[in-house]
């Protein structure tokens, strides 16, 4: 059989949506097959994931707590990926952001009013995350250094550095010998609105800002042009180095804010594992949302459900929470594969009709 691959000129919107939904459905079916292969009942697992992430008010709050860091990190990655700058250093940028926020929290006078304290911490987080992204960005801009490996290595360096602080200079003498950094005072902890820390409001504001920035401003447009074609950008007189650096300062800064939220509201101190893998999951969510900030909001909620549901089944069914990681990978595979069918269609040559005697 000879299958022809033909490039589509244009694809109707509804067909595109159908193909994407099919991809996600197929990936869930496929993930189910993997679960079956390990002797688990996929319907029970998927049911428990939904129940564990949306089944009660407390569980929904837990899901929101996971959606916030994922969403803001994804927004940061969107800005970088739009430029085809493969920033996979979000994990390190979150860690350094947390470090910056923690430094502020531990060094400003204790009696400071909370809004001032939290504002300074957020700024500290943004700056440190941005610096961590600036280093690979400036090398990329000036020398064309490969940013994929550079940003990734920066993750390990950030995490080792925080471990060093935790065991060394920042170790809290009051922690009974445990290698811990001191807990924050009350004024350095984010307050709650509707039972969840106000990180969710920060996240929604970030969605609006990044959406407007990417679609309605000149800088956002320049980022997209550099991503489409460096040649075109140069021809249009865009200062490419400048665009790369600015985009990465925003990208790393957003990740730094995540570090601030996680340190302030969740851990209430700095730990080496503060980024908790959000930097990598956010790569998936950013790509699945087609680098669109509004779509990203919904994708991140779905993925937060998956993560929260994953840790719920660990407790309730004794099944490894790593399932959610597995399912995430499978979804990404299928969606990546489905993009082929958005650009091409297959044509099967008609079989010759058999003559009936």
């Amino acid at each position: 059989m000879n299958v022809k691959i033909i490039k589509r000129k244009d694809i109707p919107k509804h067909k595109e949506v159908i193909i994407r939904i099919m991809a996600v459905l197929l990936s869930i079916v496929f993930a189910g097959v993997i679960l079956l292969a390990f002797g688990l009942n996929p319907l029970k697992i998927f049911g428990a994931i939904i129940d564990g992430s949306a089944g009660s008010e407390i569980r929904i709050k837990q899901t929101v707590l996971r959606a916030v860091p994922l969403l803001i990190t994804s927004l940061g990655i969107i800005v970088a990926f739009k430029m085809k700058f493969w920033n996979i250093g979000a994990e390190g940028q979150i860690t350094m952001g947390a470090l910056g926020a923690t430094w502020v929290a531990l060094n400003l006078p204790e009696g400071l009013p909370a809004p001032f304290m939290l504002g300074s911490m957020m700024l500290g987080g943004f700056i440190c995350g941005a610096i961590w992204a600036f280093i690979p960005a400036i090398f990329k801009a000036k020398m064309g250094t490969n940013e994929t490996i550079f940003t990734l290595m920066m993750n390990y360096i950030a995490i080792k550095f925080v471990t060093y602080l935790q065991y060394g200079p920042w170790r809290d003498p009051g922690a009974q010998g445990f290698p811990k950094i001191a807990k924050f005072t009350e004024n350095a902890i984010l307050p709650s609105v509707l039972g969840v820390n106000i990180g969710w409001i920060i996240a929604l504001i970030c969605v609006a800002i990044i959406y407007v920035f990417m679609t309605r401003t000149k800088k956002g447009y320049e980022i997209a042009v550099v991503g489409e074609s460096v040649q075109t950008a140069r021809y249009a007189g865009i200062n490419i180095s400048r665009v790369i650096v600015i985009a990465m300062l925003i990208s790393g800064g957003l990740c730094g804010i995540v570090g601030f939220i996680q340190a302030s509201a969740i851990e209430k101190t700095l730990i080496a594992g503060i980024a908790g893998g959000y930097g990598f999951t956010a790569i998936i969510t950013a790509w699945l949302s087609r680098l669109n900030a509004i779509t990203c909001l919904f994708v991140c909620i779905a993925f937060a459900m998956l993560i929260q549901g994953g840790s719920y089944i660990q407790v309730s069914l004794g099944v490894s929470s790593a399932i959610s990681g597995l399912v995430q990978g499978v979804i990404l595979f299928f969606v990546l594969g489905s993009e082929f069918f958005l650009q091409y269609r297959l044509e099967f040559p008609k079989k010759p009709v058999k003559e009936v005697a």
Binding site: I5, N146, T148, M153, I157, Y164, S320, Q328, G329
Partner: protein, 308 residues
């Protein structure tokens, strides 16, 4: 000194296997960033198979198959479905990490069975191990190390001295020209992506079976990414990869070594050395301008015959 250098070789072997695997893959024009994922899959499947069967041969085969299976996903996505190579590689790493945690969880902290560790114990090669200095560095190792020497040599002969090896180079340099000259481009890509994945799987298995005899989730710990950088550093040359891998193996154990020698400095700062060194390599490699050290011409460019 010799003991330290011998330890560098041991630390370098997983890097060597992964680097050679990735450079073969890249020679076909495919940049697979899923090394970390494939090494993890090899590590966990190698370990669980060893645990279940106590058979080292089966463990190695299973590790290589697991790596190749990961690579197959990547190949289908990028070669047949023309997905973005970088994102597909990242997806493979994410999937591999989840897969490894999931499969490996019941085995956390468990040890490799003694039948298997016995096979991978140090065995000197007669005559060769008598060579002064070099003998005790390279030829008083375990059988897995010798296998990786062989793989490295075979890869070099294959790439430079055989017809398929030359064809492979053509595919990576100029896919359209290779296609026009009658080479089955997609077949070449598939085969070499799979070989690369199998070698990464073996590299991961060395970590889980020999290097770190108790199962832990983060066995690979960024080595896959270091190997990606090493490929650039060694300029896609398997012989240079041998020395590059040992150098980096050495850097990764330098911190421990210095501590033993009584240099008082935080262990966690020393742990940064291989990662900092990798960044330095990437920066320096961007500056190399001679033709030998350039990446394959069509690296990370998907090939569509219809769109020439």
């Amino acid at each position: 000194m010799e003991i330290f250098l011998a330890a560098c070789v041991v630390a370098g072997v997983p890097l060597l296997l992964a680097t050679v695997g990735e450079l073969i893959t890249e020679k076909s024009g495919c940049l697979n960033l899923g090394l970390e994922g494939m090494m993890l899959m090899g590590a966990v499947m190698g370990f669980t198979t060893a645990y279940a069967t106590s058979n080292p041969g089966a463990a190695l085969a299973s590790a290589a198959l697991a790596g190749a299976a990961g690579a197959l996903i990547y190949a289908i996505l990028t070669v047949s479905l023309r997905a973005n190579q970088i994102v597909a590689g990242l997806a493979l790493t994410i999937f591999g990490t989840g897969f490894t945690k999931f499969v490996g969880q019941p085995y956390l902290g468990m040890a490799v069975p003694s039948d298997v560790t016995a096979v991978f114990a140090k065995t000197s090669i007669p005559i060769l191990s008598e060579i002064p200095f070099l003998g005790s560095i390279f030829f008083k190792q375990d059988i897995f190390v010798y296998i990786s020497y062989l793989i490295c040599i075979i890869a070099a002969i294959y790439m430079y001295k055989t017809r398929p090896g030359i064809n492979l180079k053509a595919v990576g340099e100029n896919t359209a020209a290779a296609d026009a000259s009658g080479i089955n481009v997609n077949l070449y890509k598939y085969v070499h992506i799979l070989i690369g994945g199998a070698l990464c799987g073996l590299g991961g298995a060395y970590l889980s079976l020999v290097r770190i005899p108790l199962w832990q989730e983060d066995v690979v710990n960024g080595r896959g990414w270091i190997a990606v950088a090493l490929v650039i550093f060694v300029a896609w040359n398997p012989i240079k990869a041998f020395f590059g891998a040992i150098l980096f193996g050495g850097l990764s154990i330098l911190g421990m070594k210095l501590q033993v020698m009584g240099v008082s400095f935080s262990q966690y700062l020393f742990d940064m050395i291989p990662y900092v060194a990798t960044i330095l390599i990437v920066i320096v490699s961007t500056h190399k301008k001679n033709i030998e050290s350039q990446p394959p011409g069509n690296l990370s460019v998907n090939y569509f015959r219809e769109e020439r």
